[in-house]
């Protein structure tokens, strides 16, 4: 660890903190339907979209209708993306003449992009045409992000409204998120990326003759436009196999700064949006502190673990000052690689600028654990906010048990039905992660996909199902996941993690919206102070820890001790 490293981490996180409030307040205006500085340009586009789609923007939906609209939209997205991938060879913008994507891979990829996971069982430069990348994958980078934000805004309205039956209109929220938030900012980010060196061309590749006379084929494509929304929508699906470690996707420290800012900005900003819309900006900042403190704690651990490095390599003569550089890029070094790993798994981004599989055991454990907490620090765009709200409900319930009062959150009484629905949502994670991992750990056909032996092999399996269920998409990428077993089971895990979580969540939101909103009663436990922040961090860590500690002990934790004991596999 060096002072320069900490300064780099501090600079980037400071920049995120600076933009949180303006972005959050802007989004609060957008989703309250107020005019903003983009309305003169985008208002006519928005109204034209509603007219063509037959949407009456003032007609609101109850929780069930809102959820069904979201599901129908996702199903339509799945069908169109699956078709594009299966018919790729007959579609335009295919300079490398890639073949159609096989059925199991197309299924996995379509689910992956429409659930905002962006798990990639394929390698972009050898599988996907420019048309598939732009009109297939990148479209869902926008729409899955907008869907997540819409759901979070619906949950926010449940707490903001008094005895309400409706939560807003899904089509309106989704359209506004895309038009007013994701598209305009992505244009700016894409331009900045191109300036730092990210290619943006319709050419498929270019051939170079190296100084030693060899031929080098350099893959190209319309990358910057996709990279922008990939980060800003916490999608994480790379244009190339190496994702944001590829020098074209992430050419230097400045591009890297922008990447990390973009993947954290909306998720943190939405916490302020939540506070503003429920009438207590302070409540939003309390959630900000909870997510922020866990995130910073995680960066400290990963940066320390990667700096201590791998004793098995330093014993061979490598300079210990270099830390663990296997699977890391020279231009990012340890600090920016560690920060990226934590930011990408604290959110549902899942892009990587270093190979997680080659991190030290503890450096790899922390990203995995962040996802097992439910991807809420600060989580994906939208999904992070609603995940934090679920934990807030559980926290006030536990606090209520301790002091013997009916728990309240933001003036809404939390009763048995809400707590049961919140727990139902939270328990989807261990069900899918541990269930699938347990089966995969004994099936010969799934074990043959492992790239590493010993406890690290188990970590590869556990990481895959954690990432899929958490809708994250990063990987211990040595695992060969492009097999029918993994394509199908990881696809199901992604569906469970998104829709299995959202269904009870929206039912809870519907039930909360219908309740009366009491003005803060004197006996209620304050949920915007330091005590609540500490208690909720404790609840998050304990719930996550109790569920996953035994599995982690068999993977990264035992590997850590074996590494220091000099054992190899």
């Amino acid at each position: 660890m060096t002072l320069a490293g900490w300064l780099q981490i501090g600079l980037i996180l400071g920049l995120v903190a600076l933009t949180t409030r303006p972005l959050g307040l802007y989004m609060a205006r957008v989703f309250s339907g107020e005019r903003n500085f983009l309305s003169p340009v985008l208002g006519p586009v928005e109204r034209a979209f509603y007219r063509l789609a037959g949407v009456a923007p003032e007609r609101e939906q109850n929780w069930l209708s809102y959820t069904i609209a979201m599901l129908v939209f996702s199903a339509a997205g799945f069908a169109s993306l699956y078709a594009i991938l299966r018919l790729q060879a007959f579609l335009p913008f295919n300079p490398q003449h890639f073949d159609n994507v096989p059925p199991d891979l197309a299924f996995n990829t379509a689910i992956s992009f429409l659930t905002n996971t962006n798990w990639q069982a394929y390698s972009g430069e050898t599988t996907m045409s420019n048309f598939s990348q732009m009109a297939g994958l990148a479209v869902h980078n926008f729409l899955s992000a907008a869907t997540g934000v819409a759901l979070a805004i619906a949950v926010t309205r449940a707490f903001a409204r008094h005895s309400a039956t409706t939560l807003g209109n899904f089509w309106v929220d989704m359209t506004r998120a895309t038009l007013y938030v994701f598209l305009p900012v992505s244009i700016l980010i894409a331009l900045a990326f191109i300036a730092t060196g990210v290619p943006q061309t319709l050419a498929g590749s270019v051939d170079a003759t190296t100084l030693e006379g060899a031929k080098q084929t350099i893959a190209l494509g319309p990358m910057a436009s996709q990279e922008a929304i990939k980060q800003f929508g916490t999608n994480g699906g790379g244009f190339f196999n190496a994702n944001a470690a590829h020098p074209f996707e992430n050419p230097n420290a400045w591009a890297n700064l922008l990447q990390i800012w973009a993947l954290l900005a909306v998720a943190f900003g939405l916490l302020v949006t939540f506070g503003k819309m429920v009438g207590s900006e302070k409540q939003g900042w309390a959630l900000f502190k909870i997510a922020g403190l866990v995130l910073v704690g995680a960066v400290v651990i990963v940066y320390a673990a990667e700096s201590i490095g791998n004793p098995l390599l330093t014993q061979l003569g490598l300079d210990p000052a270099g830390g663990n550089l296997e699977g890391k890029e020279t231009r990012f070094g340890l600090a920016l690689s560690s920060l990226y790993a934590v930011a990408t798994t604290g959110t549902s981004c899942g892009g990587v600028n270093a190979m997680m599989d080659s991190f030290t055991p503890i450096g790899g454990l922390v990203p995995m654990f962040l996802m097992q907490l439910g991807v809420i620090t600060p989580g994906g765009v939208g999904s992070g906010l609603y995940g934090l709200v679920v934990f807030a409900v559980i926290t006030v319930f536990i606090a209520g048990l301790m002091v013997g009062r009916t728990p309240e959150f933001l003036g809404k009484k939390i009763e048995s039905r809400e707590v049961k629905l919140a727990m139902l949502a939270v328990l989807i994670l261990p069900l899918s992660i541990l269930g699938f991992s347990a089966v995969a750990a004994v099936l010969p056909s799934s074990l043959s996909s492992l790239a590493n032996n010993g406890p690290h092999g188990l970590s590869e399996i556990l990481y895959a199902y954690t990432s899929a269920t958490g809708n994250n998409g990063s990987a211990f990428a040595g695992l060969n996941a492009n097999t029918p077993w993994y394509n199908v089971t990881l696809g199901i895990a992604m569906i469970l993690g998104r829709f299995g979580y959202v269904a009870p969540l929206m039912a809870m939101a519907g039930s909360i919206a219908a309740k009366k909103k009491h003005p803060g009663s004197l006996g209620a436990f304050p949920t915007d102070g330091g005590l609540f922040v500490g208690l909720m961090i404790g609840v998050i860590l304990i719930v996550g820890g109790l569920q996953f500690f035994p599995a982690l002990a068999l993977g990264p934790i035992v590997e850590h001790f074996l590494m220091f004991a000099g054992k190899t596999f």
Partner: protein, 199 residues
């Protein structure tokens, strides 16, 4: 439920046109005017021919050139396309080694690399980047320590004075902004081009 079909299908179609075609094609058009060199892949030309990209590493095996980091990229085996063979710096198939910290394959590879460097006369602790593969397999940079250690070997192979090559390396070091932002590094392709330019 049927009432949701029209908005679902129409909005999906409209957003596909807007975010899937209009947005990337507009960015491509703007990029070709504002930043044509970057948008095209930061290609480096020598005598009118593309010799590589400033951002993408390339393989150097000759003793007359500085060497990049080891690369884990592969390519389909020409004899059996279902298998892959090592193909360092294959810029059409980026990949890291994905070997975990307790992997025997990783330890053995580093051990072989260390023995080779010791045979070349490298002493003391070795720069970690010289013996580890990068995440992309296309890392264009090496650390300044790594480059300086290679300088005397390259000078000898070219019959140059060691100090000249050393000065060339020092001139090619990209320093962090304000002394802290970014890592100090040397772009191997640019360094080797500068080396070829010495006469």
């Amino acid at each position: 439920m049927l009432a949701h079909f029209r908005p679902a299908v129409v909005l999906l179609a409209l957003f596909t046109l807007l975010t899937g075609l209009a947005y990337p094609l507009a960015m491509t058009g703007i990029a070709s005017v504002l930043f044509p060199w970057q948008a095209g892949g930061s290609l480096i030309l020598r005598d009118g021919k593309v010799v590589g990209s400033a951002l993408i590493g390339q393989n150097f095996a000759s003793a007359r050139y500085f060497h990049p980091r080891p690369s884990a990229t592969g390519a389909p085996d020409p004899k059996d396309p279902s298998k892959t063979v090592d193909a360092p710096y294959n810029a059409d198939n980026s990949s890291g080694s994905n070997l975990g910290p307790t992997s025997k394959a990783l330890i053995d590879r580093v051990k072989t690399g260390v023995a080779a460097r010791r045979a070349e006369g490298w002493t003391g602790p070795l720069p970690a980047d010289a013996l580890t593969t990068s995440a992309s397999g296309l890392d264009p940079d090496i650390s300044p320590e790594n480059a300086l250690l290679q300088a005397s070997d390259v000078a000898r192979a070219r019959g140059l004075v060691a100090g000249t090559v050393r000065n060339l390396v020092l001139a090619q070091i990209q320093k962090p902004w304000m002394g802290f932002f970014g890592e100090p590094r040397v772009n191997v392709l640019k360094l080797n081009l500068a080396l070829d330019g010495l006469k």
